[in-house]
């Protein structure tokens, strides 16, 4: 049931989702990391980052809100510790990068050139853009294009570059087209939706960061809609689908909508072996429906009923 990230073949269409599996180590007791499509790392930035104060999490119906704030070791720590660890185990790292300036992203991509075990780069353009008055790159087709073009130019030509899109936009197809034109080899969809929870006892926002990212099965229909719309408009652009996938049948829906691979995020918190389980369930679901390969199923839901 292999597929490809860009043009790089991977043994499984099931990956982890950025921010939900750390840098892979903690999942080792529960899944064979080398059998995954890739470990998509937590977003790394140029410098180590503490992240936000607690509380950082609130449970919501079929989901959760988080305001971690991109806690991480910075690119030096990633290169020294985490990527060699993953490479030693034969696991592929799909490195998520984040920054506040276009130059940050380009520098991160440069630092990742030729690093063993790095399958490719996921560009997290849902970070605050200080150059654009608090907007996020992924909400502006021009800013999104600039980041992706800079990363594609700086990155190792052998490493596919995927842009991670936010659903919090009026027309996600416009953003998708813009980053595809800028050279993105694929699209990761979707990032979290911006949300808020207020504690009725304290009558104040629960999270230290006030607002946070909503994830989990609660957002699956939104994610699926985004994948559907973008695949409809840009059928040749590979899509890594994510957003509330908890089972093989959930993953199958993303494939039928147009994703050629999927990432498992919040479900890992509930079930650390979910990536391996979902791989098996997806394989069984495809076989049960008579698909000879995953590729045959990609975008199947767009075909006319009598085709």
């Amino acid at each position: 049931m292999g597929t490809a990230i860009g043009r790089v073949p991977v043994p499984s269409p099931v990956l982890t989702a950025s921010g939900c599996s750390g840098f892979g180590r903690e999942l080792e007791p529960f899944v064979d990391l080398a059998a995954l499509g890739a470990v998509v790392t937590k977003s790394v930035q140029l410098r180590p980052r503490s992240g936000r104060p607690t509380p950082r999490m609130a449970e919501t119906p079929s989901g959760m809100l988080n305001s971690i704030g991109l806690q991480g070791p910075g690119i030096d720590g990633l290169l020294a510790e985490d990527l060699p660890w993953l490479a030693q185990r034969g696991a592929r790292a799909f490195v998520s990068i984040a920054g506040t300036r276009v130059e940050d992203f380009a520098e991160l991509a440069t630092r990742l050139r030729g690093v063993p075990g790095v399958l490719g780069i996921e560009v997290n353009i849902s970070c605050p853009n200080v150059e654009s008055r608090g907007e996020v790159f992924a909400c502006d087709p021009v800013a999104a294009r600039d980041v992706v073009a800079a990363v594609r130019a700086a990155a190792d030509p052998a490493q596919p570059v995927y842009a991670k899109l936010s659903p919090d936009v009026t027309d996600i197809v416009t953003i998708a087209r813009s980053v595809a034109d800028a050279g993105a080899d694929g699209l990761s969809m979707i990032n979290t939706l911006l949300g808020l929870v207020i504690d009725p006892d304290t009558m104040r926002p629960v999270l230290g960061g006030v607002t946070g990212g909503l994830s989990g099965p609660a957002i699956r229909p939104v994610a699926l809609r985004c994948v559907w719309q973008v695949h409809q408009a840009l059928p040749d652009v590979p899509i890594l689908g994510m957003g509330g996938i908890r089972s093989g049948l959930d993953a199958l829906q993303f494939v039928l909508a147009g994703a050629s691979a999927v990432s498992i995020g919040t479900a890992v918190f509930n079930d650390p072996s979910a990536p391996a389980r979902i791989h098996a369930e997806l394989a069984a679901a495809l076989a049960a429906r008579g698909f000879g390969s995953l590729a045959d199923a990609v975008g199947h839901a767009h075909r006319p009923v009598d085709a």
């Binding site: 939900c20 599996s21 750390g22 992240g51 988080n66 806690q71 911006l194 960061g209 607002t211 079930d271």
Partner: protein
């Protein structure tokens, strides 16, 4: 001893965790709580006092996705005991499990209580159902030749836990309640202040306010302490980054440490209790959040350089992971 602190960071557990769907073998009410016994031999044989387990709640299609982390209260005969305090939908579901029911559990998780040199007299301090996590430790300390004293306390008699189990292993053994409905009236710290000077090490498990008070008393007396913290965790295994608190590392620098994998057991003088829930400017990586880095320590006598107050970037869209 590192950086003037009395404790070393707690070492990692000897064995990795497992994930299993296990059967509830027993259930009994314990005061205001419910004790569950789980037939979980692989968890039981790996568990060391101080560790915890994380439960999925509500079954495979539950709308409650986040795991519930609960300290291990005891192991034996292939079983693991936990004491559940039902206060929300997840813990209420767990407390309602009956013998024969199955539940998905991951464990043992977290760092155990480090053992002192054999024969070191120890003082154990439990608050509410946190006392349950100390029973296994008391037995282990006794087995290695330590004298064990214990204090357990709660708001009222019904909120006490593991009184008989701890009482049979510890001497002296003091029970404290806020309202005097059992044992002595007062706080556990009253008794800790009386007993701390006879101890070579203090261990505590309970609410954060109690841990802070116990750690302060121990540190002031020059006695190392280890505390098992209570922080809300989404996953329990170290991937979600929600359960962090500021902890001084072996190198003397403060980091946002995950209480699930770098804890739950921390040196009592390493946890910056006063700063929990804030972003201190000297936490590693706080500068990348826009905080002014702390001033370089100045020689004694010269005035300290002012440090900007902590200020995150609340409400900035999309800064979540």
């Amino acid at each position: 001893m590192t950086g003037g602190l009395l404790t070393e960071p707690a070492p990692a557990a000897p064995w990795p965790p497992v994930q299993r769907v296990v059967t509830v073998a027993g259930r009994r009410p314990v005061g205001a709580y419910v004790e569950l016994s789980l037939a979980a031999p692989e968890v039981a044989e790996r568990a060391v006092p101080g560790q915890f387990v994380a439960f999925a709640v509500g079954g495979p299609t539950s709308a409650h996705l986040l795991r519930r982390s609960i300290a291990i209260a005891g192991v034996g005969g292939g079983q693991v005991q936990v004491v559940v305090s039902a206060h929300g939908p997840g813990s209420s579901w767990l407390a309602g499990l009956a013998p024969g029911d199955v539940v998905d559990v991951v464990g043992p998780l977290g760092r155990p209580f480090p053992m002192p040199p054999p024969g070191t007299p120890a003082l154990l301090v439990g608050g509410g159902y946190g006392a349950a996590a100390l029973v296994g430790l008391a037995g282990r300390l006794r087995a290695t030749g330590s004298e064990v004293a214990a204090v357990t306390g709660a708001a009222s008699a019904g909120r006490l836990c593991s009184v008989q189990e701890l009482g049979s292993l510890a001497a002296p053994f003091v029970v404290m309640t806020d309202d005097g409905s059992a044992g002595r009236r007062g706080w556990v710290t009253d008794a800790v202040a009386e007993l701390v000077n006879g101890a070579g090490v203090v261990y505590a498990c309970g609410p954060m306010g109690m841990l802070r008070a116990v750690a302060d008393v121990a540190t002031a007396a020059g006695v190392p302490s280890y505390v098992a913290v209570e922080e809300s965790m989404a996953c329990g295994i170290g991937v979600c980054m929600t359960c962090v608190l500021p902890v001084v590392g072996g190198d003397g620098r403060t980091r946002f440490a995950r209480s699930c994998v770098e804890g739950p057991v921390f040196g009592g003088d390493r946890v910056r209790f006063a700063d929990v829930g804030t972003l201190p400017a000297d936490v590693v990586g706080a500068d990348a959040m826009g905080l002014t880095p702390p001033a370089v320590p100045t020689p004694a006598g010269s005035p300290p350089t002012p440090v900007a107050p902590p200020e995150a970037d609340p409400g900035t869209p999309g800064a979540s992971s």
